[in-house]
Amino acid sequence: MLLEDPLIHVVPWVILLLPLAGFTVLALFGEWIKRDKEDAGAGYIACFTVLASFALSCWTTLRLYGLVGGPEGLRFSSPYLGFEWIEAGGFRVPMSLLVDPLSVVMILVVTGVGSLIHVYSLGYMAKDAERVSYFSYLNLFTFFMLLLVLGGSLPVLFVGWEGVGLCSYLLIGFWYKKDSASAAGMKAFVVNRIGDAGLILGMVFVFHQFGSLDLVDIATNAGALAAEPWGELGPVTIAGLLLFLGACGKSAQIPLHVWLPDAMEGPTPVSALIHAATMVTAGVYMVARLAPLYHQSETAMAVVAVVGAATALMAATIALVQTDIKRVLAYSTVSQLGYMFLACGVGAFGVAVFHLFTHAFFKALLFLGSGSVIHAMSGEQDMRKMGGLRGKIPVTFWTFAAGTLAIAGIWPFAGFFSKDEILLGAWNAHQRVLFGLGLFTALLTAFYMSRLLFMTFFGSFRGGSEAEHHVHESPLSMLGPLVILAIGSASVGFLNIPRFVAPVFRLPADHGHHVGWLPWVATLSAVAGIALAFHLYLQRTDLPGRIGTALAPLRSLFEAKYYFDHVYDGFTRRVVVGGSESFLWKWMDVGLIDGAVNGLAASWESVAEGARRAQTGFVRAYALAILGGAVAVLGYLLWS
C-alpha cells in the first residue's frame, strides 16, 4: 500500500532538489536580488526551500512509520527521476535514493536543524555584505547533505560527501579576507582529502568483495560472509578500516581531528549546522549505514571503539583549558563524536544514531547560543572577558543552560538518555576499560561545559565597562530557534530512536540486559563534574590557577593539543615539502622529466629542420606527392 502511493516515489526527490533549486536561483540571480538594499530576499528564499524540505521530510517519516517492521526500506531509482548514472561493463551505479528509517532520521535532522539555523542566520548575518552567497552556500550544503544521507549507493553517497566538504571549505573560509579563515578552510579541505582517499579505496574493496556498491546489496550480502575474528586482516576488515579512515576525516577523529577546531573561523551558524549537527556526523552515519559490514570484523569494530574512546577523552581534556567559547564547543563536538564511534565500536549502532540525533539538537543549541553571546559581546569570543551575562541576555542564558544540562546528561534532558545507552552498550559488550573511559569523559564533559556556563553567565563582567554597556539581547529571528532547540533538547530523549532504526542494521536481537545502577552512576558523575566546576569557578576562583601550576606538564600538553599540529607541521615541512623540493622537483622534474622532454623536443627540432624543406609551398609539388602516393599504393596492391 505504501509503495503504490505514487507520491512516495516523488517526494524524496523533491526534498533533495528543493535546496538545489534555491541554490541555483541564488547563484544565478544573486546580483539581481542584491539590488534590493533591504534584501532579506535571499535569506527568505533559502529558508523557504529548507523549510519546505523539512515539511516534506516530516510527511515522509509519517508515511514510513507504518513500514518500520520491514528492513528493506524504499529504494528509489526509476521510474520518476532516477537514471543510470554510471554503466561500465559489470559496474553499474544507478542514481538512486534509499529511504529507510535511518535515512529518514538523518533527513529530519538535516532539514529540521538546518531550517532553524537558516532562520537564525537571517538575524545573525543581517549585516554581512555577502549574505546572498552565504545563503546560496547554505542551500547547496543542505542539498549535498541530503544527497549524502539519501544516496542509495556508495558512489552517490560519495558525491554528497565531497559536496558537503566543498561547502564546508567555502563556509569556513567565508570571511576570506581574514588570513586565518582561509587557512582554516584549506586545512579542513586538505585533511578531509586524506580521509576521502581512504573512503575511495574502501569503496574499491567493497566492490571487490560484494560486486556491488548498492547499500542494500551490501547490507544483504554482508551477513553471508564469514565473520573475521580479532587479529585477522581479511578483506572485510581492510574495507572497514579504510572506510573508517574516511569517517575519521569527515568526523574529526584521531588522527584527522585537527581541522575541526580551526573550522570555528567560519560564521557561528555554520559551525552549528556543519561542524556540529550535520556534516561531521556523516562519518557516524556511514559507519552505522554499513553496520552489517562492520559487524563481520572484530578488528575493525575494535579499532572504531578504541579510536572513538581515545578521541572522546583527548578532546575532553583539551576542552578543559580552552578559553575561546567556540573552541570549547568545537572540542566538545569532537569528544561527542568520539562517543558516537565508541557506540558503533561496541556494536550499539542504533544508540550511536540516537546520540547523533540528540547531539544535533543540543550542540546546535549550544553553538547558536554561543553565537548569541558573541553577538551580544560584539564579536568577542574570549570567555575571560565575559561573565555575569545571565541578567543581561536572559533568553540566551536559559536556553544555553538547557543545552549544558543536556550535554552533561541530566534527566530529563536528551543527553541523559543517549549517553546512558552508550555506556550501557559498552558495559554489555564487556569492554570495562572503554566503559571506564566513557564514564570519566562524561564527568569531564559535565565539568568543562559547566565551566563554560559559569565563566560566561555568572560572576561579574570582566570585559571593561564600555563593552558592558553594549551588551544586548539578540533579535527574535535568533532567539526563536534557540527556544525551539532548547525544547527539543529537553524532550527528544524520549523518542525511541534505537528501536526505530534497528531493522536497518540487520543485527541479531540485542541480548543485553538492563543494568539498574548505571543511570545513577552516570548522573552522579555528571553532577560531580558540575559541582566541581561550581566550586572551582564560582567559589574558589583562585584554585584553577594553582592547580594549573601544580600540574604544569599536563596543562601544557592540553594547551598544545597533544602536539598533533606540531607533528603534522614538522612532517609536512620536512618530509613533504623538503622531499618534494630536493627529490621530486630538483632531481625528478627538472633533471629527468624536463631533460627527457627537452631532449626529445630538441631531437625533433633537428629532424623537423630537415623535413620542413618538403614544404615547398608550390601546390603542384603537393599534387605530385599525392600522385606519387597513389602510384605507390597501387603498385603495392598490384605487387602483392
Binding site: 608550390f618 603542384r620 609539388a621 599534387a623 605530385l624 600522385l627 606519387g628 597513389a630 602510384v631 597501387l634 603498385g635 598490384l638
Partner: protein
Amino acid sequence: MDAVLFYVFAVLAVVNAVLVVAQRNPVYSAFCLIAVLCCLSAIYGLLGSPFIATLQIVVYAGAIMVLFLFVLMLLNVKREERSPGDGVRLKAAGFLLCAVLVAQAGAVLLRARPGGTGAAAYDASTRRMAEILFSPYFLYAFEATSVLILSAIVGAVVLAKKEL
C-alpha cells in the same frame, strides 16, 4: 548502333580532354571541357542512365562551367605565358607518374575477367533514383548536401565580395 555511338563519343571525349590540357588559353580549355562533359553525358545516356545524363548537363555544363566561363571573362584571363625552363623537372615527373598510374590501372583492367553481368532488368528511371535517394540509407546524406551547398554559397559570397 549504340556501340558505334559509344566509340564516337569516347574518341571525342578523349580528344577534347587532351585539348583541355594542351591549350594555353584557358577559355579554349573551358570550351573543350564543356565538350568533354557533353560527350560524357551522351555516354551516360548510352549506359542507360538518363537521369544522370541530364543531371550532367544541368549541373556541370549548365551551371559549373558557366561559372568557370563567367570568372574567366570577368578576370579577362590571358593565355599562359611561355617561360623558358619553367618547372621542367616537375612536368617530367608528373608526366612519368601519370603514365605509371595509367599503366598500373590499365594492367588491372586488362587482367580482369570481363565479368559484369550487365543485369538485364536495369531500371535507372528517375522514379527509381528518387526512391533510392530518399531511402533511409541516403536521406541524411541528401539532407546534409543542402547544408553543404548553403555553406558553400555563404563561403563564396564572403570570399568574393570586396567588402561585406
